[in-house]
């Protein structure tokens, strides 16, 4: 039997669906270095998928807190006036809503990559208070704290821009992201470019978003696939 055939035991262990007997077998197999290597790899993949899944679910729940606003009409005149306004707005809606929708579909908060806060590990980073607020989605507070540490670490600029994006302040985000996306020495240049494209999209500036996405999709960026996908929907 090939060793690969035993890899599902690792997944059974990670997802908590392993019997005592299988667990014993797994422990024996882990004494083989190649098997242990696969174990470590799958464990990392498991933890990452879990973190990603959790983040998706969290933002799903957060979005439930912002229900669509219901407008109550006091009389028919008001309703008629509203309908006329709506009719006038139709061309505008058709022109703009697809990019808004795509923005919502493709935007996700940039994870904390500056100083990952690991359980049980005390990081004495000056940025920690800001990052904690950021991870708790308290973006206004996070921004204030980040701004105090601007001089300390240029990497925080991208995160300041993200706090603006989170609050729909696209122009502010663009002002910050533009120079970073052009600075070849910036640690988060790829991120800056991707979020810059999204910020333009959020601003309904399709042309600028498209130009940036085309650049990303041709580069070795980690956002290459997402950029291609978004372009396909945008064009």
């Amino acid at each position: 039997m090939k060793m690969e055939d035993k890899f599902p035991l690792i997944d059974a262990y990670l997802t908590g669906h392993i019997s005592d007997k299988e667990n014993q077998e797994l422990n024996e197999l882990r004494k083989i270095p190649e098997f242990e290597q696969e174990f470590q790899f799958r464990q990392d993949a498991f933890l990452t998928a879990k973190a990603l899944g959790r983040r998706e679910l969290k933002s799903r729940l957060q979005s439930l807190d912002q229900p669509a606003k219901v407008i109550r009409f006091r009389n028919w005149w008001a309703l008629a006036a509203a309908m006329i306004l709506l009719l006038l707005a139709v061309p505008f809606l058709f022109d703009h809503s697809p990019s808004d929708k795509l923005y919502a579909e493709f935007y996700s908060t940039l994870p904390n990559k500056i100083d990952p806060i690991t359980r049980g590990e005390s990081t004495k980073s000056e940025l920690r208070p800001a990052l904690i607020e950021y991870e708790r989605a308290n973006y206004t507070t996070a921004r204030q704290l980040f701004e105090e540490k601007r001089e300390l670490n240029p990497d925080v600029e991208v995160y300041i821009a993200i706090t603006h994006l989170e609050e729909g302040q696209f122009n502010e985000a663009i002002k910050i992201l533009q120079p970073i996306s052009e600075n070849s020495g910036a640690r988060f240049r790829q991120e800056a470019k991707w979020y810059l494209a999204l910020a333009h999209l959020g601003n309904s500036n399709k042309d600028q978003a498209t130009a940036l996405l085309q650049e990303i999709s041709k580069s070795q960026s980690m956002y290459q696939n997402r950029a291609k996908e978004l372009l396909a929907k945008l064009l």
């Binding site: 890899f7 997944d11 990670l14 997802t15 908590g16 669906h17 790899f41 799958r42 990392d44 993949a45 498991f46 933890l47 990452t48 998928a49 879990k50 973190a51 990603l52 899944g53 959790r54 998706e56 679910l57 969290k58 799903r60 729940l61 957060q62 439930l64 807190d65 994870p111 904390n112 990559k113 990952p116 806060i117 690991t118 359980r119 904690i132 991870e135 708790r136 989605a137 308290n138 980690m222 956002y223 290459q224 696939n225 997402r226 996908e229």
Partner: protein, 189 residues
């Protein structure tokens, strides 16, 4: 306004199988206001209370998915509020073991979701980068399998695969590509 509540865990699980995460949305909305009101007894901001409640719902969901939670002696509400209270204490950095009353509800559960400080280390950040590069289909398979505890059979239905073998081989391929990407980074890519 949500009026209809799940009467039992069983009913919720059936609904979860049928309508997916919409069932969880319903639980979330059903008890939200009550939970926020309940949280006012503690020295915790409304913003934090929202956060705690979301984490509570996630911990509940995760334990249902992994099968750690398969029987409830109390109502879903009582159970959620037990986790929620634990979570508030946790947030207030008080000793969560002081809630002896609720211990029975929380035993054997994985409450990692309410420990808000869990974040990936450098190695996992690299893994995340690789998953992003992997493409959406692979990413989805891995998240459904590892986070949402989907079985191979459930994956087959969810993602419209022909049979379980196709799912297994696609999943293996995704993991292989993931490994290659990581190797690429380690070699300076």
């Amino acid at each position: 306004m949500v009026t209809e509540r799940y009467k039992s865990l069983e009913e919720f699980k059936n609904s979860l199988d049928q309508i997916g995460l919409k069932a969880l949305d319903k639980v979330y909305l059903t008890y939200k206001e009550e939970f926020l009101l309940f949280s006012k007894r503690y020295d915790i901001s409304q913003e934090d209370a929202h956060d705690v409640y979301q984490d509570t719902i996630m911990a509940f969901y995760e334990n249902v998915r992994t099968g750690r939670l398969n029987k409830l002696t109390s109502s879903i509400k009582t159970y959620l509020f037990s986790i929620g209270k634990y979570s508030i204490y946790n947030r207030l950095k008080k000793n969560s073991k002081t809630i002896t009353l609720d211990k029975a509800h929380l035993e054997n559960l994985d409450l990692e979701a309410i420990d808000s400080n869990i974040q990936p280390n450098e190695k996992l950040v690299q893994m995340e980068r690789a998953m992003d590069q992997l493409g959406d289909r692979c990413k989805k398979i891995l998240i459904l399998f590892y986070y949402h505890s989907y079985s191979i059979e459930a994956l087959m239905h969810e993602l419209d695969y022909k049979n379980e073998n196709v799912v297994r081989s696609h999943k293996s391929r995704c993991l292989r590509s993931l490994k290659e990407l990581i190797k690429g980074y380690e070699n300076g890519g």
